[in-house]
Symmetry: C2
Subunit: 344 residues, 2 copies
């Protein structure tokens, strides 16, 4: 696997940025999380006047062998159907990216369908993973291919001028992968990681939990992130992991979406812990394990809207708040410039 | 006091709107709070295709006699200074309203300063309220004047074509008024209502709490909302109360901001409980009592960003999420139109 050497973000400007924030015409600290975000982006960019350029969201799509085991409320053909919906502009992520002027990139990481549209970026590693109930989801070779593609996608978006990328996904069955990854990385029992996904009833949830318990038995002794990825990941999750790492490596801001996007981030952070400096967590999803993933990473999300949709929708909805953070730092008057008295 | 007869929102379209939401290409319920907001606005407007027109935020400003008692971290002259900052575009609310194309209206409800700018709407009832430590903050006549002005301001904004108004404020000392109002309306001890406002230290907080305990002793036996308003309100809070009532009366959407804005809403809801159907609560503020106000009203805020700034900033930051709710309802494809399979 390609080696990443992400630079820790320099703290040199911390005092200058905090000072600029505190000189704005508002009580100290009164913009709450926006102040944290402004500081973080200032540090990432090494600037007291950071800017967000060509905000982008990339949606990695892939199919999962395990979907045949009845772990999802939706049939597997919904993966390609939704990719086509992204291309024709009818999905939630289309609506929200259009609203905020965010560029949307759709990647076929391994959907069980042959797309003919130029608007789907072809990174196909296969027509879906194998079912991890019986074998590894993907081979080491396929994983390496996923990493090469993920890096290429991040490079392509960053080379187009973007300095902030949100990471979303589409893949029927992929909350199962994410739950298994979470269980391995966070050392938590599956019970705490498995949720209803797109909307399983309690019977479906039990079936999912049983299937994933079997999957864990099929793959004991997973040690490295690569082991976990080969055993349980989807092509879309593996590509996302690599693309996140590359994004941080190139100094751009990572917006993490929900449960599946955060599972990719968990693995990325195992591969290179310095990635954390570059990541903003858009929201806490309604999928039950997500809050615990965020706790494990010791991070606070921007939004809590009980979303459980994926597609990068949380990134798109959080984006205007992130933009507000950068804007207040750049555009607000200071006590001195506005001739406003400071605290007594 | 003028009588309000706000119509309860008709539930006639509830099933149709819910059906439209559930037919969108997403798992049922997966857009969380956005679905609740879409339904609410659809019901308010009586339409399956609601729209937000000319979003507006109005900031009512007023000075408080009690500010002389050391209840705020900032000197009273900051009220007019910040109003001038709003006019020259340097405050946080300017940055966020500009970002989202929201019209900003600034009202002098009773600041201790004479503004010469046409951009400040003149609704001056006086040069600040009296200190409620010794007497009523305002007379019944002044309260009636506040109500007449508040109604006029709401009418002016709605007549200009707006159908959604956010309510913010500026007034050094006004978290003290809000805490007293909260204590009276919610029947809670002051201890649970008083917070650090713009940033008091623990000594300042104790001083504030003591002062407000004295104020309550000065004004026992307050019964009606009018009694509470005359005793403890600011001119800006009283005008906001009336403007919120008028906004609902005219069928427009109310965006409530933080602690002070919600105190005005508490009174408005006492005057006419039907107002609740028209209100969206932008955020939960970091001011300690605000969460309890929202609990009292049994409402869930859109955002939780640890803001404690006022000015309507929470309304402005929540606005894009509210817009997203309306947009997904209008713009997303349905399962049928996008040829996507539904749940098994």
């Amino acid at each position: 696997m390609i080696d990443f050497k992400i630079k820790q973000v320099s703290q040199d400007l911390r005092d200058s940025i905090l000072n600029a924030i505190n000189q704005k015409t508002k009580p100290v600290g009164s913009l709450g999380k926006l102040e944290d975000i402004a500081l973080q982006i200032g540090l990432i960019q090494g600037s007291i006047n950071p800017e967000l350029i060509k905000p982008s969201i990339v949606v990695f799509a892939g199919d999962h062998g395990v979907a045949a085991e009845g772990v999802s409320a939706y049939p597997a053909e919904v993966t390609p159907q939704m990719v086509l919906n992204f291309v024709s502009g009818g999905a939630a992520i289309n609506v929200f990216t259009k609203q905020h002027g965010i560029d949307l990139h759709v990647v076929d990481a391994g959907v069980n369908y042959t797309f003919e549209s130029d608007e789907v970026i072809d990174c196909k590693v296969g027509f879906g993973t194998k079912s991890y109930l019986y074998e590894q989801a993907m081979t080491k070779i396929e994983l390496n291919e996923c990493f090469a593609y993920g890096i290429k996608v991040a490079d392509r978006i960053i080379d187009s001028g973007s300095n902030i990328i949100g990471f979303g996904e589409m893949g029927i069955g992929n909350t199962s992968s994410a739950a298994l990854i979470m269980s391995e990385v966070c050392f938590l029992p599956l019970q705490e990681c498995v949720g209803k996904g797109t909307g399983l009833d309690s019977e479906g949830l039990n079936r999912k939990l049983e299937a994933l318990r079997d999957a864990k038995k099929t793959h004991p002794n997973l040690v490295t992130p690569e082991d976990i990825l080969c055993a349980f990941s989807g092509f879309e999750i593996a590509q996302m992991t690599a693309a996140m790492l590359r994004t941080a490596d190139r100094g751009a801001v990572i917006l993490v979406d929900g449960f599946i996007s955060t599972s990719a981030f968990l693995l990325a952070a195992q591969i290179d812990p310095n990635i954390i400096d570059y990541a903003i967590f858009s929201h806490c999803s309604d999928e039950s394990g997500h809050g615990k993933m965020l706790d494990y990473l010791q991070v606070k999300p921007v939004l809590d809207l009980q979303l459980r949709l994926g597609e990068g929708t949380g990134c798109a909805l959080a984006y205007p708040i992130i933009e507000s953070a950068v804007r207040f730092l750049n555009e607000m008057a200071s006590f001195e410039s506005a001739d406003v008295s400071e605290a007594i």
